[in-house]
Symmetry: none
Subunit: 423 residues, 2 copies
């Protein structure tokens, strides 16, 4: 039978915005991998009445409830007490947990006296399954009611994650038979609504697998999700949909299950043993930053020049002053000269450049905000793409960097450098 | 009268764990700064029935409901339709929003046809307040019911955050006749727990104003929040607390209500009519990127060199090969030579450099992951700071960039360049 889970995170610090709730994301990822649907996430503070109401609501609509937080030694930590009350159990001391807490404390602070309050963490709901905590002091537990199973985990990710993977995954696998598999196709060069218009009919018709578009800054993600008895069956459902999407969108699809264009470019460069460099004006270091965010960038990235003023374009990249005077910094001619210059000074196989108007104001030659020239220099010759981007300074910069990576990707894959929309 | 808000994030991608719900943390921080209690956070998928139930529940227990997500152009985007139904309103086309969307599209993809589905984003609940979106296409809105006000914002943080700060903060301030004023003091050079330990006593004792620490990557924010009858009264409550914090932390406090170290540095440079440049190895363009994120950077930022390989350090910055051979790229000597080189080639008044081991692996000279040398070159002489940073590749890079800006700030303000902790 198929299960629906919901996640209930307990902690006033989350509601004050003091911590980012990464447990919820982690648990959702794990549950979807286990083929368990999650319809709700809830956060409540360290307040027994509100927690009790949230638990009652969760039991009324889900058969698996996973809580994080509120298992600690302080008086704010109410999760076990409250859930025990909801499930009509009382708390009893678990001697093994008590001993583990004493040992843990002795290891961490040898010689010093353990506050008795720590033993509150060894008080467990009667008849529960205890989840040993080898990564901290507070044990977790599973309370099995007829209507709903409540799985309680500590809040700190360094305890929540290993405890889930070690104890809860096997427990849930035993409950569930289905697998949910997702594949994310990344699309650059077309807006979310245009992409969706192309697939609206299929998307409405499909139930398993499903196909859904998600907008990312300057690009689109198309996610195919299948539910099946095994990973192999799920893959067999996904593959034809991926093939269809690729047939429709052609080379606008730049990858599957990748983090972004830069990852694809880095992999292609490594595979071909090529290096690149960049010369950035309007992107101001963003291209270099995105490449060097990835471990191993040093194998293919020689470096970058952020030439934010004309003098630097001339001094570092050898852009001829006449070009700057005649065409202005935001021009096809200067973009090409920047890319050539970067390729020469960094002695790289390939180089990309950007020059444009990020805003907030147009430039003195009347180029509007959002106009960007992106150039590529290669041993086979050079190329420049002109675009007019919208969405404010940040979006213009991010999209311009996307275009630079897209030029590299297209060159490395032997694709046409011009963007052409399908149909 | 005092208000309670709750946050409802709409998006199946959150429940699949594919994105981290940073909007919820942002909104909770802002609301707590406004003195508005948040008792619940909920996440539901792109499902009208479950969304409708979540809205009904929220209205039954909170008088302000803030939703994120589901305002886009695709058929998954159901928030406005569903909330309009819950509040008994119908959707009507807002001509101004429609025009803004057409203009936005025309700017982005000149010539090509806009999918009509985009206009779905201009269909607004009858009688709502429209929240203009200058950072994307989907406008937000506020629906005012007698029992509850529903504030709908787009999901992408790059739109949600500025829209909240620009449109929603003033709206919420107007609701409570009391003025809530926050001042955020930014602290660099000391960890959150150490800062908190210094002020623990005060923080527990204070009720109005309140003082709360927030950890940011590599730095700390101390927020003072006062509730009063007027802004002047609120300021009078805040000022002495700020004075006390500054007296305790000294020059570790680098600014009040600023976006980060780079903003302070940019302002100082403009005030003094000075320019700077950077030479980046381990930060890989992050320093240049952060400066050029700020409008007006071009007035003070000459440019940057991302010299990710030794050859580039020599070719672009004139770092002597002997230094690289003798001391290795990650060394005080090379950091100083990089800063000097950047100052020379960019012809800037000041220059900063970074060279270090971002990880995941130590370098071949046995420098551990996290060791970074940050150098500053000035007309009055040069200086190098050595640090050992923790927290993985991204945190090392962000913190190293913080240190570079901190050196610039301290030089520009005539402060000692060495970090010294209080007490």
């Amino acid at each position: 039978m198929s299960h629906t889970a919901e996640i209930l995170c307990v902690g006033t610090e989350i509601l004050l915005g003091e911590i980012l709730n990464t447990d919820a994301q982690f648990l959702c990822q794990e549950l979807s991998g286990l083929g368990i649907d999650v319809y709700y996430q809830t956060v409540v503070g360290d307040n027994p009445e509100r927690l009790e109401r949230a638990v009652a609501l969760a039991r009324s609509r889900s058969d698996i409830l996973i809580t994080t937080g509120g298992l600690g030694p302080t008086c704010d930590d109410l999760t076990k007490q409250t859930l025990a009350r909801c499930f009509g159990k009382k708390l009893v001391l678990d001697p093994e947990s008590a001993q583990r807490i004493r040992d843990y404390f002795a290891r961490r602070l040898p010689g010093s006296e353990m506050p008795e309050s720590n033993l509150q963490q060894a008080m467990m709901p009667e008849g529960c399954l205890i989840l040993r905590n080898d990564w901290g002091t507070a044990p977790g537990c599973i309370l099995e009611g007829e209507d709903c199973r409540a799985i309680m985990l500590p809040g700190p990710p360094s305890e929540c994650r290993p405890m889930f993977q070690t104890h809860v995954v096997p427990y849930l696998q035993a409950l569930s038979q289905a697998v949910i598999l997702s594949r994310s196709l990344r699309v650059f060069g077309m807006g979310e609504s245009a992409v969706e218009a192309l697939f609206r009919a299929e998307m409405d018709a499909m139930t398993n697998p499903t196909l859904a578009p998600y907008a990312k800054t300057g690009e689109v993600e198309l996610r195919i999700t299948a539910k099946a008895g095994s990973e192999a069956e799920a893959r067999a459902l996904i593959d034809p949909v991926e093939a269809h999407v690729r047939a429709v969108l052609g080379d606008l699809v730049y990858g599957a299950d990748v983090s972004g264009l830069e990852e694809v470019v880095l992999a292609e460069l490594r595979a071909k043993g090529l290096t690149f460099s960049c010369a950035e004006s309007c992107t101001g270091g963003l291209i270099a930053k995105r490449v060097t965010d990835l471990p191993g960038a040093s194998a293919v990235f020689k470096g970058g020049a952020v030439t934010y003023c004309n003098q630097a374009k001339a001094a570092l990249l050898g852009v001829p002053q006449e070009l700057l005077d005649q065409y202005g910094a935001v021009s096809r001619e200067v973009a090409l000269a920047m890319a050539e210059g970067a390729r020469r000074v960094f002695d790289s196989d390939l180089a990309v450049s950007t020059t444009g108007v990020a805003g907030p104001d147009p430039d003195d030659r009347g180029n509007p905000v959002g106009r960007v020239f992106i150039a590529l220099a290669t041993p086979q010759g050079n190329f420049c793409r002109q675009v007019d981007l919208g969405g404010g300074r940040e979006r213009v910069r991010v999209s311009a960097a996307h275009h630079a990576f897209d030029l590299l990707r297209r060159h490395l894959s032997g694709l046409p450098l011009e963007l052409t929309l399908p149909g």
